[in-house]
Amino acid sequence: MKQALDLSYNKYSDVSFEEKERLMEEMKADDRWHHILYGCYECGICVAACPSARFYDFSPRIIAQAAAREDADLLYTLMNDSVWDCSQCFSCDRCPRQNSPGQIITVMREVAVKNGLKTAKEALEGYGRIIYKIMATGSQVSPDMLQPNAFPDWGGHVKEISDNLDVWRKALPPETLHTTETGWYVTDKTIIELYLIWHMTGVMDLIKGVDEGLHMILVDVMEERLEEAGYDDVNFD
């Protein structure tokens, strides 16, 4: 059942037009913008290919249109109410104008996260553990995440896995896979390099805007490990 998207003008009337324009300018200032948007024919090929369009009241065409026409108000509404429906498959890259609505959405999401939009935080609720895992361990999902209460719709099979996890992981021929807390063994040096990358690229600030508690524990873990490795002067404040 599709929840209808409300695209009426000035839906977010509590936000000034100047603010909406500022955010649009932030999107346009992204290095990728001129490689992902060349104007929109309104042909709808992207919508036809889009899996999210079949399930949600979602249209990559409307997003590309709003971006091409530089409609700051509509872009603001879409950035709040629409962009998180995209499943990032890039089927829309078949656009005959060579636009990439999927990448336009990526840029819009980054702007939303960077500016701490409430709808961005809401969209990422329940996702915190994954961010913690990838940021702290360098591996996105781990075997010990296969818990029945995390994936109840995958059935009793998940319980079978979690009950046997320890032994089944040891019953894997590749030596790097004898792990339960990470997908594979990652060396300490590698993790430190990853932390330094997060530090140097400002990613931790993005996370602070999404979930302060998560940011706090990540910074704590990273600073401790960095200090142990001799990087006393790296802090994330």
């Binding site: 999401r109 996105q140 296969l146 995958w154 059935g155 590698t190």
Partner: protein
């Protein structure tokens, strides 16, 4: 039963000519930047195999000396997938490297949550490529999304010199060179390039098996020009990946009307908005495959696709949907065809949708092979051995 044949145009050759390609060959720019001293471009080690890509260009695929860029979702949740890739390399006595100096590409998080930025993403990619170069092996990518994402990163680093400059600085601080490999290779391209050698060593007859293929979106839609196409397969009108491999094993590949559709993985959706993923996977893919082809298995070549197609079928059953189609990766099918153990190597017990009927259909004694695996796990439980080793798996 409607059995849709895989058609090819009979009176016209649609031959892709590289000189008429609508998209640039990024490798030219990559090599040019090497000439200008911007980065190191490790070449595909010889001997290499050659495949054709969408616009008729030639792509080099290494045989060995490969650095295996592992997949989070595979290693975390479907480890038989990664195991089968390594098993194939070992079966051919190839020199490969399974690194611990490897991070996730982090693209799953990036596509799911946008809690990252192009600089971080590019730095993560470059760090991994540098790590491969440091040990003298050539990267081969296990995940379809890593592959697609790294192709995106390559475009960005070639065209945005500001980004390249920033990432180079980061690499310098890490004491690493800036490295961009000559080709970005997906493991399924290696499997396909090796298909005749694999077929030579096939010990299990699969000529009575019908399969549907699901091509990963991030493999052939994201940076479309760098995907394998073959004039003998679909008349080069669709990517030949996976189909080529299965046909070489004698499997009948059935066509279905939603071939081009995404599986519905969604990155964020599969974790926190799962009604979307499972509805899409079942209603647009699985049910259509079953209705139109009635295959024994569906085969794909990406972590997310295997996960979504396999796991979504459970909940759908409760809604009376037509499900029950086993999902395997191309490397698992290839390994199985060559005699790999279904549980010690393919690790099929991690898959959700029941695949025993398929195993029995190709003559595998499910009870016996499971007992063989359990005998090993019992030894581990009793403390008689620490791990199931390659030696145990290859017995």
């Amino acid at each position: 039963m409607i059995h849709l044949p895989v058609l090819k145009a009979v009176d016209r050759e649609f031959e892709a000519k590289p000189e008429e390609a609508p998209k640039e060959d990024i490798r030219e720019a990559v090599l040019q930047l090497e000439k200008e001293g911007e980065w190191i471009v490790p070449r595909v080690p010889e001997p290499f195999m050659e495949v054709k890509t969408k616009f008729g260009r030639t792509k080099k695929i290494p045989v060995e000396k490969t650095w295996h860029h592992k997949s989070c979702g595979q290693c975390g949740h479907i480890p038989g997938y990664s195991t089968s890739i390594f098993w194939l390399n070992r079966a051919f006595g190839l020199d490969y490297h399974d690194p611990t100096d490897q991070t996730s590409c982090t693209a799953w998080n990036y596509y799911a949550s946008a809690t990252s930025n192009p600089e971080a993403q590019a730095a993560v990619a470059m760090r991994n490529f540098a790590a491969a170069h440091e040990v003298g092996y050539f990267p081969i990518i296990h995940c379809g999304t890593s592959f697609g994402h790294y192709k995106e990163v390559r475009q960005a680093l070639v065209h945005q010199h500001d980004l390249r400059r920033k990432v180079k600085k980061i690499m310098e601080k890490l004491g690493k060179p800036l490295v961009m490999p000559e080709e970005i290779v997906h493991y399924s391209e290696w499997v396909m390039a090796m298909k005749d050698r694999i077929a030579e060593r096939q010990v299990i007859d699969m000529s009575h098996i019908t399969a549907t293929v699901h091509p990963a979106c991030h493999y052939h839609k994201l940076v479309e020009e760098d995907a394998v196409y073959d004039s003998e397969i679909y008349g080069a009108q669709r990517t030949a990946i996976v189909t080529g491999t299965l046909q070489a094993l004698g499997i009948n590949v059935g066509d279905y009307s939603t071939w081009f559709d995404c599986c519905g993985f969604g990155f964020r959706h599969i974790l926190v908005s799962r009604d979307f993923s499972r509805s899409f996977a079942v209603q647009r893919k699985i049910e259509v495959m079953i209705d139109e082809v009635k295959p024994d298995i569906t085969v794909t070549h990406d972590t997310g696709c295997v996960t979504t197609l396999d796991q979504s079928q459970f909940a759908a059953k409760a809604h009376g949907k037509k499900v029950g189609l086993p999902v395997l990766a191309d490397s698992q099918v290839a390994a199985l065809a060559m005699g790999a153990h279904p549980y010690k190597v393919l690790q099929l017990h991690w898959h959700n949708t029941d695949n025993k009927a398929f195993l029995r259909k190709i003559g595998i004694d499910v009870e016996k092979t499971w007992a063989e695996f359990e005998a090993e796990t019992e030894k581990i439980k009793r403390g008689e051995k620490q791990f199931l080793t390659w030696e145990d798996a290859e017995k």
